[in-house]
Symmetry: C2
Subunit: 341 residues, 2 copies
Amino acid sequence: MNIKDIARIAKVGVSTVSRVLNNHPDVSDETREKVWQIIKENNYIPNNSARVLKQTNTRNIGVLVKGVFNPFFSEILKIISGGVESAGYTMILQHHNNENDIDTLLGFIKEKRLQGVICLGGNFLELDDEHLENVDAAIVLVSVDLVRIKNLKKCSSISINNKKAAYETIEYLINNGHEHIGMVLGDKKDIGVGRERFEGYISALESYDIEFKEQYIIYGQYDSGTAYKNTKELLEKQKDITAIFCTSDIMAIGVAKAIFDSGYKLGEGISLIGFDGMDIAKYYEPSITTVKQPKYEMSNLSIELLLKLLNRETKNQHIILPVELVQGGSCSRNKCLGTGL
Amino acid sequence: MNIKDIARIAKVGVSTVSRVLNNHPDVSDETREKVWQIIKENNYIPNNSARVLKQTNTRNIGVLVKGVFNPFFSEILKIISGGVESAGYTMILQHHNNENDIDTLLGFIKEKRLQGVICLGGNFLELDDEHLENVDAAIVLVSVDLVRIKNLKKCSSISINNKKAAYETIEYLINNGHEHIGMVLGDKKDIGVGRERFEGYISALESYDIEFKEQYIIYGQYDSGTAYKNTKELLEKQKDITAIFCTSDIMAIGVAKAIFDSGYKLGEGISLIGFDGMDIAKYYEPSITTVKQPKYEMSNLSIELLLKLLNRETKNQHIILPVELVQGGSCSRNKCLGTGL
DNA sequence: TTGTAAGCGTTATCAA
DNA sequence: TTGATAACGCTTACAA
């Protein structure tokens, strides 16, 4: 069943059916109604590929997510998806785990004929305006690495200063009397935001003349279970650790449980700070102190910015949003000497 | 930049370029290499719409998810996505929140030219073989309502017996001495699996001659925060409640925190049982007793079944998987009189 | 092994 | 207000 069949049954030309489908004005009410009737009766659904193939303005906005199913991104996606749809665009969501994020982005735009893209995560350090020379889609990179420092003209970005956030978090712990601070990273191969957070950790230790110890670092693969397992091991081996900084709340949950199961009291024996500001950190008992990313602002701003770019109402811009240390019960302040935040 | 341009630059015919792109054997190594070279040099990416338009075998498998970003489904998706890709198919993920799940499914198949679809969630009670008369895509419904009772020939399903699971959970609580059992449902309008779980609750109360009290029921919108708020209110008004059954672990987190914040001890003052068996239930402190859905089995089975259907190696089937009550510390067994599970 | 040409199902242009 | 027809970029007979 295609547009020709409908045209034949309705005894009109294919272009008339097309006009009806696309709500073009120049069709008589009578014809319009008749055609709709036939379309409904036959459960006719236009072939999207053919449409996209032909159309120049697809009104498609792509969302490219690095890493499969990161819960923090899920919460952002929920908001973006609402914004895209209420602006009359269709959202095409693509998750990937490819090596080359730039090629993946370029391919995605071309393949889906996108008007605009929002990228969640990924490594765009190598991205240059040259790559985007012949790309006419609007691009907003969200929660990516230090691409902003290049001040690219052909794309926008919304990010937080991960290094600074980590630095200040560690500073906060140090000011609370902690010197032996463990860190839970995602993956050894991380080069994006995880790397920046690690740099902030290193940098804070240096500032306060605290020796960096390789053996205080573990990897949690962004997974509660892995974080749990490795934290238990860490606590067994490194008895002097008094605080742990974790690059995601999801991992922090596992770390918290490991702290309990190792016989410590969370927030007294050992302090814990997570990252992201997810609901789960708030509802844990005790709630987990976390570096809250401005989820709503990030999401809303990214879709607003994209729409403005599409309407040529703004130039590309690189926005840095502030983070907030949300204090829960997982972090001791008994030796409080003031905070860095 | 299209296939013609590449052909022109490489001084070959378009079909040769096409053959190279699709790894067809009958191209000389020399030509193949030359064409690849030109393709790479020009950053050429084939237009997917045109491909799909032409191809009959798209090797596209769709995954249709009801409700935007349910974390339990996310965990299932992670597994499915791996299975789809390693079988050489492309996964097209679509989230929706439409009224009519059947129409959405049919439209999805047609629009994307899918070979097969997996549906996560949704209401397919009205689905009949007639709807699928002219559909040649393989369909596997996962975690949907009682569609299995119809024993449809044109689609498969993988589900758990939600009513029975809920019944046995409540029975377990009753056997542990609880009589005043609150329940946290998702949304008032739920007609799918949430409804079935509610029916199990009602049915268990009836079996044990316990009066059903409307005021013990609250709604959490599948959201920790909402569940938290409404549970606090519930505990304030209904002082005799000693246990709460929650239709999702995500909501159970909020409920747990509300129990703490109302001055009770989780697992002693008030017991809590969640549903789904998510990581978060395990890593909460104390861990939350939960009705564990066989996530891995569900995911693996759904993709395996779909692939077999595509290869015509099996008929459609309706599989019911068992659930397991995973006991955590959130549930008192002090008045233990034996368990129903 | 390679090239030519016919279609896939739409939309857009143009003429009626 | 309508309808015929030429694209859109690709794959695939079929012919060379």
